[in-house]
């Protein structure tokens, strides 16, 4: 009757499974009240979803009346955020127990949020983009404020919530204007309608509003200002989670929407995007230089990485957009692995909620915990883009794409800014290796596992940049 078939569900099986699994976990948590059980089940659910995504690879289809597109691009992001979810579970498990507020709902909310990010990567309709954004964000607001009776965590939660809802309003109004300009919210119909007009200022305004709203989510300057505060105040595993998954979801949607729906206005938007990139790179990196708290420093560093990711975006309207998406996905992968690793080290050193997070607390780490500090060194080098790390490969491919597109000046800005970034990363190295101190680290099995996986990934995956890049480039083909 309705024109839906079982295949609609099958196409988005990873998401469907994850959401249903979250429902099951709600019941499990309600009846067992065992956070560790919920965590294990959540991990299982994520693994199952990864498996389903692997099976999904190669699918090219639209589902639910063109509300969703399932293609290589979407599945790449699925795997990325699902893997991020697994790593986040690893980070949160020990931390939450150590801090004494382990609750099963945490993992359930995370599953909802991951489903939101996956929907963002697949969304082929602006209204779905908006809803998915909310599904991604609302659990995040709660998770940021998860620490009971902690002023910082609650402040972070409220700040994130108010600004997030504010930015959500921009996205929504943008969708409304695009609907007004084209009579459609479906990406295909929008692009078809947009092609008929030669200077669609209302469409442009709508696109700009969406850019602002999603730019807020991925922390582009000047919409970034929540980032350092929220990253600092939120519990560290949540920070690690949102630094990656919110970015991945935001960028995934941003790219799909802009490449699929707004290619006709790319000439107008590209200068805006380039300006945002430069602002983001400069502000993120320069502000990071002045930080003394590692969480704030990493927050600014993640802002600067948003700038790098956005860099690929300047080519979105040209024939090189496929290369741009490839570099974006690859850089996102590199950022994910490195970011989780560095946060794992931060968590290992965090004594109590909010304690042990200053650079001084890292003094003497190199002597006392050579393995941990070596891991941190690898992550920082990867952040800075030094070979042989994944971060280097990411930057390399990215800059090359930008150069190919004729934005040599932008690539130069990028290179200069990655040099600047080396200074604040190396400051941490200096504290770890050249300062005297007596840091205290808890060795927790799951956390160590995450550190080990990410450090191996940072270097090992680098050696397989070629095949990974090939994978990412295949992921691109079915975007539109």
């Amino acid at each position: 009757m309705s024109g839906y078939g079982i295949e609609d569900l099958v196409y988005i099986l990873p998401i469907v499974f994850l959401l249903v699994w979250a429902l099951v976990l709600v019941l499990v948590e309600a009846f067992t009240k065992r956070p560790d059980v919920t965590m294990l089940l959540a991990a299982f659910g994520l693994l199952a979803a990864v498996t389903l995504s692997v099976i999904q690879f190669g699918t090219e289809a639209t589902a639910f009346k063109e509300m969703l597109t399932v293609d290589g691009y979407a599945v790449f992001v699925y795997m990325l955020v699902l893997a991020s979810g697994l790593l986040s579970l690893g980070l949160a498990y020990d931390y939450n127990r150590r801090m004494g507020w382990a609750r099963g709902e945490y993992y359930i909310l995370m599953l909802f949020s991951i489903a939101g990010a996956m929907l963002m990567a697949s969304a082929a309709n602006l209204i779905v983009v908006f809803l998915a954004l909310e599904l991604l964000s609302i659990p995040l607001y709660v998770m940021a404020a998860f620490v009971p009776n902690d002023a910082s965590s609650e402040e972070a939660g409220l700040k994130y919530f108010l600004l997030g809802a504010f930015a959500g309003g921009f996205v929504l109004y943008g969708v409304a204007l695009i609907y007004g300009a084209t009579g459609a919210t479906n990406l295909m119909d929008v692009v078809a309608a947009a092609l008929g007009t030669n200077s669609p200022v209302m469409l442009l305004t709508g696109a700009a509003l969406i850019l602002v709203g999603l730019g807020f989510k991925v922390a582009l300057v000047p919409f970034h200002m929540w980032t350092p505060d929220v990253y600092q105040g939120a519990p560290t595993p949540v920070t690690a989670y949102m630094a990656v998954v919110a970015k991945a979801g935001g960028f995934a949607a941003l790219f799909r929407v802009f490449i699929a729906a707004f290619p006709s206005v790319s000439a107008d938007l590209t200068p805006v995007i380039a300006t945002l990139v430069v602002l983001t790179l400069v502000v993120g990196n320069v502000a990071a230089l002045a930080q003394k708290n590692i969480k704030r420093m990493l927050a600014y560093s993640s802002i600067s990485h948003a700038g790098f990711l956005m860099m690929a975006f300047v080519t979105y309207g040209s024939a090189l957009y496929a290369d741009a998406v490839t570099s974006l996905l690859f850089y996102l992968l590199a950022f994910t692995v490195t970011s989780f690793g560095s946060w794992a080290v931060v968590i290992a050193l965090e004594k109590a909620e909010g304690k042990g997070l200053d650079f001084e607390d890292y003094a003497g780490l190199g002597k006392k915990y050579p393995m941990l500090s070596a891991a941190m060194l690898v992550f920082l080098l990867s952040f800075a883009g030094v070979p042989p790390t994944l971060g280097f490969a990411g930057k390399f491919f990215l800059f090359r794409t930008v150069l190919e597109a004729g934005y040599a000046w932008l690539a130069i800005v990028g290179v200069i800014m990655s040099l600047v970034s080396a200074f604040y990363y190396l400051r941490v190295v200096r504290f770890m290796y050249f300062e005297q101190g007596d840091p205290e680290v808890r060795s927790e099995p799951v956390l160590n596992l995450v550190t080990a996986i990410t450090v191996v990934g940072t270097i090992f995956l680098f050696l397989f940049s070629g095949p990974l890049l090939a994978w990412a480039s295949e992921a691109v083909l079915a975007l539109i």
Binding site: A151, A176, G180, R296
Partner: protein, 100 residues
């Protein structure tokens, strides 16, 4: 019948007022109400455009927006209640310990 532009301009005015409300009020709850006003103005635009295009899609979107608003209200008010318990105030200007 009044031209659709007027409705859209009214919605733009309400949208702007919502934004200004977020910027000038210190009370977190009023800020949140201003955000509701922003969403509401978008709803008005959706309904106006739906009338213009003679299709119900725009009206359906309003449903979704209302749901989102309800969800945000649930979480937002809960957050504010907690903050109030800890800080005995919902003045956002007093929530500025995280900075720099």
């Amino acid at each position: 019948m009044v031209a659709i532009e007027y409705y859209v301009i009214l919605s733009a005015i309400l949208f702007t007022l919502g934004i200004v409300g977020v910027l000038i009020r210190r009370n977190a709850i009023v800020i949140f109400m201003s955000i509701e006003l922003m969403l509401n103005s978008a709803n008005l635009a959706f309904i106006a455009f739906a009338r213009q295009y003679n299709e119900l899609n725009g009206q359906v979107f309003v449903f979704f927006v209302m749901t989102v608003a309800a969800a945000e209200v649930a979480v937002g008010l809960a957050l504010m209640v907690t903050i109030f318990r800890t800080k005995h105030s919902i003045d956002v200007d007093q929530l500025s310990s995280l900075k720099g």
